[in-house]
Amino acid sequence: MTTKPVERLVADVLARQAASIDPAPPGRLVSDTKRPGLLVAAVLLLVVGVAGVWWVPRGSEVVTVDRIPMVIEASPVPRVIVDLPGVGASQIVETIVESLDLVLVDRTLRYGGPIIRIAAVDSSEVAGDGVTVDGRPARLDRSRGTVSVEWTSPSGQLLVAESIGLEVADLLEVLAAVDVIDGEPTVTDPSRLGSLTVAPDDEVELLRYVALLRVSDDEGLIVINEIDLAAGPIEPLLTFTIDGEGPKERRILDVDGQQVVRDRHRDGIVQFGFSRGFWSVAVIAYSVDDAQVADLVRAIRFVDEAEFRDWVGDRLVAPDGLDAATDRLVAEIPTPDGFEFDRSAFVPPPPVVVWMPTSGPEGVSGEIARQTICAWIRATDDLVETAGDVVDDDRRDQLADEVVASLRQVEVVSDWGGLSQPASTGATRLADRVALDGLPPTWPDDIDTLRRDQNCPAP
């Protein structure tokens, strides 16, 4: 039919196809303020299209940021509870931050801009380094776009503020409006909030308020492993990864008009997230179907701190109670069949990061999953080379048998040292999974990615 080399024809056709694609110019995504924070917010909003309920500020002052009308408001961080019959908070570890949070909100984009977090700290006095807050000495530190200021309030309380993306002069002016009333940082003079300017080249990231909940049903089964509450748009939804592996399936659910992004991973983990008002919620759960996800979305409520404490009861863990809570949580770790757990050998992670109690057996399961994937890869290396991308069903079944056989040789020992599982358990689970789901339809394409992501040995 043709005398042209196939490569030349391919190049010609791709060029014609590419030339026929005329995407919308990027300018519609870029604000004229050249602010990356707004840019990414616009991208995020366009990608996921979450229609948030507008957060109504109270006692706010309208200011402008790069000519865009903004609202600056002191916002109490809501608490998240799951209000679902039969489900309770069996264990909770939560970061409690006694702070005042100043939030910038763009009415047009529904985007919360830079946040200033202000908290009281225990210390005697500030060693000033030349900057002042309303004439009082302050100390200023910068790190990766974050500006921290320590200063003494008019009432004599030492305060610390952390902000990202704001000009220092504006930040200091805002801080001058803050004092401590009844032990809590408070905006005492809203008129001084003034006009703010976002530093143009700083990476604007939102500070995150994290509430880690472990929620179980009445039978002790884990329903939700983690709820992550973040200020701002739905950034967590775009960073959903588990051990570097992408989701098996993503779907946008409609729950009573609320759009929920749901990712289902190969190992049964289900992540979903949605925006509610100014806040976004990201949830990690296990083995829940979409109907249950919908129930959970309906059940997740924002409450104030008082209601949260009432709901949590005596299970709330303050930072100074973390050691005792860890001991209790260790005692409550469920031990799946096939596991032997030497509790005396357990050394909890240092409390620098709030410990997620369910990283226990599930963490080991993660290692099993990793070993499983590596076993798949070992068993399929030769197959990929010889059979190409097309593998018939019989060969897949044969492969599954080979993988299960190889898994029986895998010794799985957790990095905790106190928890181990016979390899045969993992092999059995793999066999069950293969029987249930079959091998992923595109697994040959996945091999090299998985090999690297799972740190499997090279062929």
């Binding site: 039919m1 043709t2 042209k4 196939v6 490569e7 024809l9 391919v10 190049a11 010609d12 056709v13 791709l14 060029a15 014609r16 196809q17 590419a18 026929s20 694609i21 995407p23 919308a24 110019p25 990027p26 300018g27 995504l29 870029v30 050249k34 990356p36 840019l39 990414v40 991208v43 995020l44 366009l46 990608v47 990766r144 080249d201 990476e203 950034e235 775009l238 960073t239 992408g246 989701p247 399936e249 993503r250 080379e385 190409g388 991308d389 097309v390 339809p441 595109t442 040959p444 394409d445 091999i447 090299d448 990615t449 690297r452």
Partner: protein, 158 residues
Amino acid sequence: MADLREHDRVTAADTFEEFFEREWVAAVRTAALLTQDRSVAEEIAQEAFARVFQRWDRIDRPGAYLQRCVTNGARGYHRHRSVVRDKLPLLLSADDPPESAFVADALAALPFRQRAVLVLRYWNGLSERQIADALACRPGTVKSAHARAIATIGEALR
């Protein structure tokens, strides 16, 4: 041909906005060619740029990273799609060579990795090693996928 191939063009003086404006069209076109579906190309490109933005201060070669993100996004779309592959609804005018239709059909029917190798090689102008990096596979895999893809298309033209 496509800006994305020049991974080292981004200098320290570039801002994300400049990078975004310069690479946007190429990223969308690459996503469209990889997925053979223009309707999702912008979405994949947007998500890719969002990922680049999140790591803007920490990545040395944003062009290469964007390439990886676009490819991964297209790969994810490909996984979710049904078996039916529609030819990219574009192009062929009466003036186009007749064999173009056969090539386009064959391209659309290729497995994702094979099609990706051809797109990245002949439209983005990447080297074998750069393609391997974008697809997270070995150069040898790129070579074999390329050979199979060309053979398949050649067969379609006979």
